[in-house]
């Protein structure tokens, strides 16, 4: 039986949609994965030397043990939001002659091999190897490492419990707050205590039975919880949220594009991926701080223009690059319905324009770094409004990949093709050539002036540009309809 499960798992991985993508995207994803792993492994090695230098008189292992509790808490935090128990996968198994006991063990065991459990391994194995090379006794080190792995697994199973059960979540939060308070007011030094506890796994190898028991205990709790719920109407049922009807009457002011504007606002607000993108865009307002606080760049450097275009245009990039794929699920209806394509595009342009203006207004506090910062952001915003909006709509006509709206935005590459990378070149590249060249040849003021002027010209010519783009969309309509119908692309 177990052999079959492993076989299923193998196929589901190698035949998954995310592996069937373009070679370029596949290579990019592999690159990022390897990069992350190498980075963590290097951090593991570096940790040893860093701690040895920073705290020469104390044992690096003791120091790590002291902070381990934070690592575990962060792990729990991330898992809570990102990791879900893959219960839906077992639906097809229910009516086959497989014991429910086996199915339950299968889901739980499977989660033990999830990627999240490897993070601590990748970080701590190199660290432990370094310790071993420096003469720490191997059996004790192994005991410590196993204890950490067990704790990581405990976090793994604990996460499923609190994910399913709000009472468990509240309980856990209360415990953490209480411990933090005790620590803060000096009643009880929790970090010191846990530090000593974790360090004990090294000194007294037998003590690693405690985390092992914890891991097994949380596993057993999960098993008991889940076994009773493997029915279609219990945990295997998809959750549906109650719909809230929105009127959005104020959009009527925008005349004939109002129905599309309403549709786009609902699209953004009622779907996970677009909603997270709005929050990510808003958070990106702080991106400029990275550059403005660096001494290497002066306040008139080209990097500030990069930041300016990026900050004011982040929603433009995030949302715009997938036009019209956002509407891919019902694109054939849009094309058969009484919809002038022009109005459809105008409404998208209007929405993105509004986002550029909002992001510019939010970026005004950058004036703290001098009037130049404000001037740069203003001309970047103008350039985005005039040039980049038509540009991104034009590149949108090359989109042929479907997007399923209800998937989350995190590490979701659906709908991504070569277009998404190509568009960034003119979008960010052109201003990054114009600005430094003019600044070098003439002056900062002239360079900014030209950038703004280009934007204003673009705004003036938006109508004819949109006409051309509409024509292109019309020509590519059949390819888009066919492309958007293909699932898992």
């Amino acid at each position: 039986m177990f052999k079959h499960f492993v076989n299923l798992q193998w196929k589901s991985f190698f035949r998954s949609a995310s592996l069937g993508k373009d070679m370029a995207i596949k290579a990019l994803m592999v690159f990022f994965a390897v990069y992350m792993l190498v980075f963590l492994a290097m951090a593991g090695v570096g940790l040893f030397f860093l701690l040895e230098r920073a705290f020469p008189e104390s044992d690096p292992l003791a120091k790590v043990s002291e902070y381990l509790v934070y690592w575990l808490l962060i792990e729990l935090f991330f898992r809570y939001f990102m990791q879900k128990l893959p219960v839906m996968d077992v639906k097809p198994l229910l009516m086959l002659p497989v014991k429910k006991r086996v199915i339950t063990h299968y889901i739980l065991a499977k989660s033990g091999g999830s990627l999240y459990n490897f993070f601590s391994l990748v970080l701590f194995v190199p660290f432990v190897v370094m310790l071993a090379l420096h003469g720490y006794p191997l059996p004790n080190l192994l005991s410590w490492l196993l204890a950490v792995v067990c704790l990581s697994l405990t976090v793994n199973y604990l996460n499923f419990l609190i994910n399913k059960n709000d009472r468990a979540l509240i309980g856990l939060i209360l415990v953490i707050i209480a411990l933090y308070a005790l620590n803060y007011f000096g009643v009880l030094s929790v970090t010191e205590l846990t530090g000593k506890g974790f360090y004990a796994f090294y000194h007294f190898p037998l003590s690693m039975l405690v985390p092992l028991a914890l891991a097994l205990g949380t596993y057993a709790l999960n098993y008991r919880f889940l076994r009773r719920r493997i029915f279609l109407d219990a945990s295997l049922k998809k959750k549906t949220k109650e719909a809230v009807t929105a009127d959005l009457g104020w959009t009527k002011k925008f005349g004939s594009i109002a129905p599309f504007l309403q549709l786009d606002l609902k699209l953004i607000w009622r779907n996970k991926r677009t909603k997270t993108q709005v929050f990510l865009s808003l958070a990106m307002i702080f991106y400029g701080l990275v550059f403005y606080t660096m001494d290497e760049f002066s306040n008139t450097s080209a990097m500030m223009v990069f930041a300016g275009i990026f900050i004011t245009g982040i929603f433009l990039v995030n949302f715009g690059q997938f036009i019209p794929a956002w509407d891919s699920a019902y694109y054939s209806m849009m094309m058969a319905q009484n919809i002038p394509l022009r109005k459809y595009l105008e409404s998208k342009a209007g929405l993105i324009s509004a986002s550029v203006v909002v992001m510019f207004l939010l970026s005004i506090p950058y004036v703290y770094f001098g009037w130049q910062a404000l001037a740069i952001n203003l001309s970047s915003a103008l350039y985005n409004l005039g040039i980049n909006i038509p540009l991104i709509l034009f590149f949108g006509s090359m989109n042929k990949k479907r997007i399923d709206l209800d998937k989350s935005a995190f590490s979701n590459m659906q709908g991504t093709g070569a277009t998404q990378f190509l568009v960034l070149i003119p979008l960010l590249g052109v201003p990054m050539i114009i600005f430094p060249a003019l600044k070098f040849l003439i002056s900062f003021e002239v360079a900014l002036g030209v950038l703004s002027a280009l934007g204003l010209v673009g705004i003036a010519f938006r109508k004819p540009m949109l006409d051309r783009i509409t024509e292109i969309y019309r020509k590519k309509k059949y390819g888009m309809i066919a492309g958007f119908k293909e699932k898992n692309s």
């Binding site: 109650e242 719909a243 019902y330 694109y331 058969a336 319905q337 059949y478």
Partner: protein, 239 residues
């Protein structure tokens, strides 16, 4: 109302549709039957300019559909659930379609009130998004949406599939009523022979992209169709 001339659609070397000449007069209720892969959905997609014809063209009320968009205001359709916008509630979807077809909320509400029976209390006021409705209820919403805005041509692909018996009977009544007025041209495809013979004045049978029967519905039609499909299958088995 609808004319198609030398209409073919070819994918690679495979011709999936080949209609030399088909004229559907105004106000006719027209039924299209055929097995899977006979070309029913291909024909409807060509009518709606969702795919490009390899040769020939379709003219809808004097408008050639692949060169002008002027057919859109008087043509409406429901092909499948990809015609629905999943993140809207049914009401919002109806109002959206209404806006596109120049109908205000009151107009749409007026129309919807005629379909209360058909909805059976499962569509309106449910506080659910379309994506969370069952397949059958999604279909009901899509079919009714295609009646918004007094269209002259209504195209419904497999409207009876996934509907419960009560709703099927009600839908037959609705389509018959539409056809009775003589102003709306209704195009319906189905796998269910008895449904189409009941609601359509004329039935065209497609087989592998070709028109093989063109029947004015009469008492004998259902038997004729049944013997055609039964006989055809037997012949195919012998091959």
């Amino acid at each position: 109302m609808i004319q198609s001339k030398n209409l073919t659609k070819t994918y690679g070397s495979q011709t999936v549709l080949n209609i030399e000449d088909l004229v559907i007069p105004k106000g006719q209720s027209f039924g299209l039957v055929g097995n899977n892969g006979a070309g029913k959905t291909t024909f409807f997609s060509l009518l709606l300019d969702l795919i490009q014809p390899t040769t020939g063209h379709v003219i809808n009320n004097g408008v050639q559909v692949n060169t002008s968009e002027a057919w859109k205001p008087f043509t409406s359709s429901f092909i499948d659930e990809t015609f629905l916008i999943g993140y809207l509630t049914p009401e919002e979807y109806f109002y959206f379609i209404g806006e596109l077809r120049g109908q205000n909320k009151a107009d749409v509400d007026g129309l919807l009130s005629q379909f209360e029976d058909f909805f059976h209390g499962e569509i309106l006021g449910q506080k659910k998004y379309l994506r969370d409705l069952s397949k059958g209820n999604q279909k009901k919403a899509g079919i009714v949406a295609s009646f918004i805005g007094n269209p002259e041509v209504v195209i419904l692909d497999e409207p009876f599939a996934n509907l419960d018996p009560t709703t099927q009977i009600r839908l037959k009544g609705i389509i018959k009523d539409l056809a009775k007025k003589g102003e709306v041209t209704v195009l319906v495809s189905s796998h269910d022979l008895s449904h189409v013979t009941e609601v359509c004045e004329r039935i065209v049978v497609l087989n592998k992209g070709q028109i093989v029967r063109d029947i004015q519905t009469s008492e004998a039609t259902l038997r004729e169709l049944e013997s055609f499909f039964a006989g055809k299958n037997r012949r195919e088995e012998q091959h």
